[in-house]
Each structure stands twice: as structure tokens, then as C-alpha cells.
């Protein structure tokens, strides 16, 4: 399902500043990269290190954010989900596999990696973005069109 969304430059700039601030805080105080996939992975036994409690704390903060937002804004977070729960579970599994295999996600490689001027992250971001563009083009304009 294709839904038209409106370009929100101001809100997105504020959002970007907050994410940047969070990434800097985590790096400065904990020496950790704010990569969501990596933090999620560290909650599981096979990857669990000394930082499991911090990983859980981060994810709790992340999940509390939309609740805090709607409490203050007085409106639910705008979200349009077109996939079924089953499809989302499969997609989530693929995202988890891909990010562990690729060594990072949009936040780890895309935000933190690029900010650290890591060549490896630049390559990873360029590849997964290109694949994202190609996948959406294929699904929406070749198969769906």
C-alpha cells in the first residue's frame, strides 16, 4: 500500500539533533556506539557482555519515548503500518539477520559510523541505502506498477 506522507523538514531536523545528542552522550559517557541493532543483540545470551543491563536500559528508554511524546503532545504518534503482523515478524527477522551480518544498521553505520568518518560504515551505508532504493523501486514500480 502506497501512502503519501508530507515532508517535515523542521520536525526532522529537530529529531536528527536529538538522535545526534543521544549518540554523543552514549559515546562520551559509555564509550558505546548508538547502534540499535547492536544494542538489541547485546540483550541476547549469545552476544551478552558486561553491558547487558545498559542495553536493556537503552531499549527501555527507546520504548518509553513514544509514550512520553503522546502524553505531552496529547495525541498518538502518527504511524501507518500496511503490513500484517506475520509479515512484520518475518521482516523483523530479516532485519536482525542483515544487521548482524552487515555489522550495523542505519544508526550504527549510518549515523555513528559516518560521524566517526569510518570508511567501512560509509561503504555499508551506501550499499544498504542503494539496496533499499532498488527494493522499493522493484516492489512499487516493477512488480506493483
Amino acid at each position: 500500500m502506497v501512502v503519501i506522507t508530507h515532508f517535515t523538514p523542521v520536525a526532522s531536523t529537530i529529531g536528527g539533533m536529538l538522535i545526534g545528542l543521544a549518540a554523543v552522550l552514549l559515546m562520551l559517557f559509555n564509550g558505546r556506539i548508538a547502534g540499535i541493532s547492536g544494542i538489541m543483540a547485546r540483550m541476547f545470551p549469545s552476544y551478552r557482555g558486561a553491558d547487558a543491563i545498559s542495553a536493556v536500559a537503552f531499549v527501555l528508554g527507546l520504548m518509553a519515548a513514544p509514550l512520553c511524546y503522546s502524553a505531552v503532545a496529547g495525541a498518538p504518534v502518527s504511524q501507518i503500518v500496511s503490513a500484517s503482523a506475520g509479515l512484520m515478524a518475518v521482516a523483523g527477522l530479516l532485519v536482525g539477520f542483515g544487521t548482524v551480518y552487515g555489522g550495523g544498521c542505519t544508526s550504527g553505520h549510518g549515523v555513528c559510523g559516518l560521524a566517526r568518518l569510518s570508511r567501512r560504515s560509509l561503504v555499508a551505508t551506501a550499499i544498504f541505502m542503494a539496496m533499499g532504493f532498488a527494493t522499493v523501486f522493484l516492489v512499487r514500480h516493477v512488480i506493483g506498477g
Binding site: 502506497v2 501512502v3 503519501i4 506522507t5 508530507h6 515532508f7 517535515t8 523538514p9 520536525a11 526532522s12 531536523t13 529537530i14 529529531g15 536528527g16 539533533m17 536529538l18 538522535i19 545526534g20 545528542l21 543521544a22 549518540a23 554523543v24 552522550l25 552514549l26 559515546m27 559517557f29 559509555n30 548508538a34 540499535i36 543491563i53 545498559s54 536493556v56 536500559a57 537503552f58 527501555l60 528508554g61 527507546l62 520504548m63 518509553a64 519515548a65 513514544p66 512520553c68 511524546y69 504518534v77 504511524q79 501507518i80 503500518v81 500496511s82 503490513a83 544508526s107 549510518g110 549515523v111 559516518l114 560521524a115 532504493f133 527494493t135 522499493v136 523501486f137 512499487r140 514500480h141
Partner: protein
């Protein structure tokens, strides 16, 4: 005790950034990837600003 506390606050700020930036909406993220259709460049703003800010700090 400091590390989990910092993580919790960082997670909260990160999440608020995602919510305010509209990046919790899959429709918005998919539209960023749909240059040939219903393109929405918001994601580039979110990612560009947070990367640029992190470099500066």
C-alpha cells in the same frame, strides 16, 4: 550505576528524536526510498543533521 542511567536517558532522547523526526512511521521511511514515486526526503534531514551534529561535537 552511571552506565545504565546514561543508557536509559540516551535511549529516551534517541526515541524522542525518532518520534519527532517521523522515523517511527514505516510509510515515511518507505517513501524516502521511493524516489520515482511518493518521495519524502525527511529521512535525509534526520540522518544528515544527526551525523553532522555528532561530527561537530
Amino acid at each position: 550505576m552511571l552506565r545504565p542511567a546514561v543508557s536509559l536517558i540516551a535511549g529516551l532522547i534517541f526515541g524522542l528524536g525518532l518520534v519527532i523526526g517521523g522515523m517511527v512511521d514505516p510509510a515515511k521511511v518507505k517513501n524516502f526510498l521511493d524516489v520515482a514515486g511518493t518521495f519524502d526526503p525527511s529521512l535525509a534531514f534526520v540522518m544528515g543533521v544527526c551525523t553532522e551534529n555528532s561530527i561537530r561535537i
